[in-house]
Amino acid sequence: MLKSLWIGASGMTAQQEKIDVIANNLANIQTTGYKRQQASFSETLTQALSTINQPVMPQGNKQITVGTGVKVGAMNKVFTQGSIVSTGRDLDLAIEGQGFFEVMLPDGRYAYTRDGVWRVGQDGSLVNSSGYPMSAAIYIPPDYQSITISPQGDISVVQADGTLLEAGNIPLYRIDNPTKLNAIGENLYILPEGEDLPESGVAGVDGMGYLKQGFLENSNVDLLTEMTQLINAQRVFQFSSRTIQTSDEMWSMANNLRR
């Protein structure tokens, strides 16, 4: 009796975790550059019945096994392209294709992001929405008139006095195996200790994605998929709780064998 209770409980716990993941995806559906998380399930170990003194007919070399439930096997982030939406702001950049922006954290580490909302700081560097500067050394005079960024990342600034300034190139960084990235919040990802840092690349070159000025990359969360999975998880949660109720009834029958 105890075992089927725990199997049912494992079902409820696993579905609960999946619902948590779905809730997080839905909460971040409008977050720039957010990449959805996917929870996948896997069976737990099985137990051969003849080894625990259960009445089984000898099977030869094949064992009758009963499973012990389910668990969340992996919670991976899926790095597919999000949809690109137009904002018209001159320092909003969307990456269409592969690549990440690199920013420098206050503690000296490098972080990577797809969030392209930039502004020009007091010292002329490009700063993202959380206040972290882009790691590349780019100077833009804070009192500029207008700014144009080409799909390859070349910055052309029309300064306050009307002259043109070529301010450099915005590098993109290519991370081949993005499943290694750890999300640290604020739309930032870091590579674990000991991993080689990626080399900088130019947008549009060697398979790197293009930059689009005036656009932002929305999340890659698909509302319909998430809702369907939510309904699914809810139903299995319900069935798991039903199995716990039935096992409880059976156990109570065993307890009432002798009044």
């Binding site: 049912g8 079902g11 896997s42 007919m57 009963v66 081949d176 069935f239 199995t243």
Partner: protein, 255 residues
Amino acid sequence: MIRGLYTAATGMLVQEKRQENITNNLVNANTAGYKKSQLAVSSFPEVLLNRIDAINGSSKGVKPVGTISNGAMLAAQTIDFTTGSLEETSNPLDLALTGQGFFTVATPQGTAYTRNGSFSLDGDGYLVDSHGNYVLGLSGPIYLNTTDFTVAKDGTVTVGDEYVDTILITNFNDQTQLQAVGNDLFTALEGAGPRQLDPAEVSLRQGFLEKANINLVEEMVNMLTVLRTYEANQKVIQTQDEILGKSVSEIGSLR
């Protein structure tokens, strides 16, 4: 009397195991590639009953009366390998087999097989399943180190234009000889006859997962059957208990 108690108890034990099996099927309703397991119940082998008989006045003599079975036990486990329906996830690391065959993985205990195509990349960039076992291609573990790869319908893995490997899909001559070992894995017993499935017969979809092949309604009905059978067995034990009680306390009592 006592024999009757144990016979009914085996009935309850067997139903408990069936309940565990049904519960396991139900909680794995969302596990990719899960194959439902069914337990078959049969009666114990029959034993001969003898009646001690008085022949010609003497008190010796044994006369066979007939056979009786002493309860129920689990006879066999059938794993239903019907293909489940597909679910689109758009995750390039999710693969689904829409036809026959199994993915082949290398575990520390040897080669195992699975239908759960929810894969990821490990720290070194190799394709692994959700337990960290290498997914095998024709030339061994598959080194990718990128999520930007394509898997064709016949299992060919390419990164850009470069061919990497072909995923090894194993088919069996006798699927009943597969042993379920948990963690979504099966091992091949003698007589299973594993052989590589010809790439022309392989049918893989990237970005999809195979759903569990359980039928929720069927499992719920099975669970109801188990519950009521358990209840009936409980009644048998209680009745046996009452009869025993009468024979102990009332037969031969002086009043």
